[in-house]
Amino acid sequence: MRFAPQWISLVGVCLFIGVACTPPYTITPPPSFKRFEQSRDFRYITADGVMLKAREVDNYPRGELEFWTSALKLHLDERGYVFKSETCFKTEGALDGCTLIFLLPHGAEDWVFGETVYVVDDTIYLIEVAGPFERYAKVADELTQAYKTFDPHH
């Protein structure tokens, strides 16, 4: 059985798109969050508007987890964000991660802004969450559990 070249190309494109459309990590989303299906990125939201997303940045200049969490904490502190907590943990796959939680006034409300940082070789993975305090507080425990399920593909 022979495949026409155009079929091979199509399968190739599909495979490429499939790979390209898959984030280079997996994470079990918290149960209260639903995914934005139209986005290729990891973007989830609760019914009352707490937003969760993930992104990657270059680990440049190359630094360890402690270095980047310190830099982030210092920077947001300088900006006037109120530091609430830093929680460092190990994922189920034994990867080190740290979650920084800040509070800040946003409009008439007080919002939570959280950054969870993982450092894997040349890449820094960031899981960011934001939402009004009262709504965030309801899902805080779910998020903590979800952060532990993060697993980079490498």
């Binding site: 200049p61 900006r79 006037g80 802004f113």
Partner: protein, 222 residues
């Protein structure tokens, strides 16, 4: 005007005494006026310093009404009382020994942020006021003694001065009461929302991606 012998002497004595009791502008008080005629035992240093305690915190909670009730119950249990109850804040007064337990209970109710604690030593200020009050009281007692030997004119003059002295004495007592009240009750302000809305400012990190980690960018890119 001719004063009787006793009247003149009484008035003169009264004026000398009054001179001691007159308040001086701050920073100009001569050393001998600081503590007039004090015996050695009255200047013994206090081993227990009297201080005013104040604490303030931003407390983020989900149910403000529920937490407010918990805190008010705790204040009552500690022997204190609320000074102000609002939806957005509480101002509470408790005995100084109750300050730490109350802060702990508050912190257990939610996220305790922006904590500040202030201890102001009022011992010197209180001691000065106490001495001035004692001094004025003695002076009034002495002035009263002159009534017996004074004529009408001198009596009126002494009485006028005594009224003035009593007013000053009451004012000092009021100041002392205020300070002693601050020592007796620690004051705690608990606010449930940030009160300064303009606290977020621009700052630049030398690390490019760190500059992208903030709420505005998050919302823009979401």
């Amino acid at each position: 005007m001719i004063w009787s012998k006793h009247g003149l002497a009484g008035s003169a004595m009264a004026l000398i005494l009054l001179g001691w009791g007159m308040p001086c502008p701050a920073g100009e008080k001569p050393a001998q006026q600081e503590a007039p005629k004090e015996s050695a035992e009255t200047v013994q240093p206090n081993t227990h310093r009297r201080a005013a305690l104040e604490a303030r915190l931003v407390l983020k909670v989900i149910r403000v009404d529920k937490v407010r009730d918990v805190l008010l119950d705790e204040v009552k249990r500690l022997g204190g009382f609320p000074l102000l109850i609002e939806n957005s804040q509480l101002i509470l007064k408790v005995p100084p020994s109750g300050l730490t337990p109350l802060l702990k209970v508050a912190a257990d109710q939610g996220w305790a942020l922006n904590k500040s604690f202030q201890r102001q030593d009022l011992d010197l200020e209180i001691t000065k006021l106490e001495r001035r009050i004692a001094s004025k009281q003695k002076m009034l007692d002495k002035l009263r003694a002159f009534f017996d030997d004074s004529d009408v004119a001198a009596t009126l003059r002494i009485e006028r001065e005594m009224v003035s002295q009593v007013q000053q004495l009451e004012s000092l007592k009021g100041q002392l009461k205020l300070l002693l009240d601050r020592v007796r009750w620690a004051r705690i302000t608990i606010v449930f929302n940030f009160q300064r809305r303009d606290r977020i400012v621009d700052a630049h990190s030398p690390f490019e991606w760190v500059n992208t980690a903030n709420l505005n960018q998050f919302l823009t890119e979401y």
